[in-house]
């Protein structure tokens, strides 16, 4: 905040004015947020009190209904099969998107771009893929691929590709700029510079992002599954619409276990490679 630098000044009269100023900034910011909240609540017809009341009600409902019953356990093999498919799907999507995004991103970094126009073009394309919602891709692909695993694959692929391209460009510019210059100065070729300089210096960051995207994609593929009637999302939606909440809850639990397991493994890997 603007006041922070002045705060260190030893003069007391200055200090009080800073506190007053900070208080005023805080009050203004608070009022702005409150106004935004009220307007948003009016626009969406959101009842704040009902919202808060719903939470204890929901908790009671969850505890009563979202408990796997016997019927649910009998469906476990089916659920696990879909869960494994979802996990493999998000790994496959993320790996494919990461490979494409890395080589595409090379054309967009400050240090390795071939020319400024291509660099700018790469960033625009990446921004496009990042910002077109996965929902749109899913609806669009549903027309041509139908209720197929590939619908989810490509919907996730495009968004992941856009996101990772931007991330890799930033990572490479941050981590590898210096060694790229040095390798170019030794007379190394473009590909030698990439494989001997950029990949070794940025691989840990890249893996960390891949692991993060795998975790995110498991959640996203559930959403796309609900929308396109495929995978684990479809299974949840199916049980949910049949009011078979016991089985639906088992789906939720299995997703939770998978996501947390991936998070734990990812953290271990990050610890070793960073």
């Amino acid at each position: 905040m603007s006041g922070e630098r002045a705060e260190k000044s030893p003069r007391p009269e200055n200090q009080t004015s800073v506190f007053v100023k900070r208080k005023r900034t805080f009050t203004l910011a608070f009022l702005a947020v409150a106004a935004l909240f009220v307007i948003s609540a009016l626009v969406t017809d959101y009842n704040v009190i009902a919202g808060f009341e719903s939470i204890p009600k929901a908790v009671v409902w969850i505890v009563k209904n979202l408990v796997p019953d016997e019927r649910a356990w009998s469906r476990l093999p089916n659920i696990l099969a879909k869960l494994a498919e979802t996990a493999l799907l998000s790994v496959a999507v993320t790996v494919c998107a990461a490979v494409c995004a890395f080589f595409f991103g090379l054309l967009g970094t400050r240090t390795t771009k071939i020319n400024p126009w291509i660099g700018r073009g790469v960033r625009i394309v990446a921004s496009f893929f990042r910002n077109v919602p996965d929902v749109v891709w899913a609806i669009l692909l549903l027309f041509s691929f139908g209720q197929n695993i590939l619908t989810g694959f490509f919907a996730l692929f495009f968004v992941t590709f856009g996101l990772l391209t931007r991330t890799f460009i930033e990572t490479i510019d941050e981590v590898s700029a210096d060694c790229v210059e040095a390798l170019q100065a030794t007379g190394a070729t473009y590909m030698q510079t990439v494989f001997q300089g950029i990949i070794p210096s940025s691989i840990a960051e890249i893996i960390s992002w891949i692991l993060y995207m795998i975790e995110t994609n498991i959640r996203s593929s559930t959403l796309i599954g609900v929308l396109t009637a495929t995978g684990i999302g479809y299974l949840f939606d199916l049980y949910y619409k049949r009011l078979d909440y016991g089985s639906a809850s088992l789906v939720v639990v299995s997703i939770v276990v998978l996501v947390i397991a991936i998070e734990l493994v990812s953290n271990q890997i990050r610890k070793v490679i960073m």
């Binding site: 905040m1 922070e4 947020v33 935004l36 909240f37 307007i39 948003s40 609540a41 626009v43 969406t44 017809d45 959101y46 009842n47 009902a50 919202g51 719903s54 939470i55 009600k57 929901a58 409902w61 969850i62 979202l66 498919e85 493999l88 790994v91 496959a92 790996v95 494919c96 496009f128 910002n131 077109v132 919602p133 929902v135 749109v136 609806i139 669009l140 692909l141 549903l142 027309f143 041509s144 691929f145 197929n148 695993i149 590939l150 490509f154 691989i203 891949i210 559930t222 959403l223 609900v226 929308l227 999302g233 949910y240 939720v252 997703i255 996501v259 947390i260 998070e263 070793v272 490679i273």
Partner: protein, 289 residues
């Protein structure tokens, strides 16, 4: 210049060979001795293996891949090349955008307010260790459940409408921001807190005079990032859980009217809005810093 720039002397080279590590084939090793190299290779190999295994075992239901791809290309051309509005109107779409925006705002503000207190409870440097572990575990659980499932669950538990969407989205936001906020609290210089404690400052004084001012720029950045995510999620919830807004318009255009051109028009509106948000967020973040 000769191939060997340094003259080889017998004793030097003998001494050197003691320091060289050889592999089984008697070749000199050049890689660093560390755990991270093999770990990187292992991780990449496992990921690659899983990818190949995935592709081999997926149930493609005998789809005509080439046909589907060319159909997709055609559809992409129609969606992005010939956008129009037929069933929806521009004011209608704008209203949808406004609703989605408002859903994002509400869930971000609610999520952030809860997260502020949650983060104070689980930042290692200011909270009780046992409480911190408990809160962190709970938060990890909430984050692990996809937002769509929260919204659907709340839809049954609390009734459909904006309440379920806002509460479901807020739930996930709160959990996400608790993690982000508490990490920025933890990054804070521990000496500052110690000094204030030593001067007899109370807990809330420490929080408001040291912890929050020191992390405000990080927190703003995370909050805006979360707002962008919430906006995207609100679109998804509109499409997949009937939560209204422009996401619902997308769903209607694509899956009810089967009008690709209208899908394209609304997509362009969404993309423009998201890019505008990104620009505004960057400006505000720069100001707070």
């Amino acid at each position: 210049m000769s191939e060997l720039a340094v003259p080889v002397t017998g004793s030097l080279s003998l001494d050197l060979h003691k320091h060289m590590k050889k592999n089984r084939g008697g070749k000199i090793k050049i890689g660093a001795q560390s755990k991270s190299g093999p770990a990187v290779k292992m991780t990449l190999l496992v990921l690659l293996g899983l990818t190949i295994f995935g592709f081999l075992t997926f149930d493609y239901k005998g789809i005509d891949f080439a046909g589907a791809v060319s159909a997709t290309m055609n559809n992409v051309q129609v969606v992005f090349g010939q956008p129009h509005l037929k069933y929806n109107t521009l004011p209608g779409a704008m209203h949808g955008l406004l609703v989605t925006f408002a859903l994002g705002v509400l869930s971000t503000i609610i999520g952030a307010s809860i997260a502020l207190f949650g983060a104070l409870l689980c930042a290692r440097n200011i909270a009780n260790a046992r409480v911190a572990t408990l809160v962190k575990g709970f938060v990890a659980f909430i984050r692990a459940v996809p937002t769509i499932l929260w919204v659907l669950i709340f839809a049954v538990a609390a009734g459909l409408g904006s309440v379920a969407a806002v509460v479901g989205l807020s739930f996930h936001s709160a959990a996400y921001l608790i993690k982000a906020y508490s990490e920025s609290f933890e990054e804070m210089d521990s000496g500052t807190i110690e000094a204030l404690k030593a001067s007899g400052a109370s807990y809330w004084q420490i929080v408001f005079q040291a912890v929050l001012p020191a992390s405000i720029s990080y927190m703003t950045a995370w909050t805006f990032l979360r707002f962008e995510i919430n906006f995207a999620n609100a679109i998804a919830m509109g499409a997949a859980a009937g939560a209204g807004g422009i996401g619902y318009d997308l769903f209607m255009a694509g899956s009810f009217y089967f009008d690709l051109r209208e899908l394209g028009f609304i997509t362009y509106i969404v993309v423009a809005a998201v890019i505008l948000l990104e620009i505004v967020a960057t400006k505000v973040k720069a100001k707070v810093r």
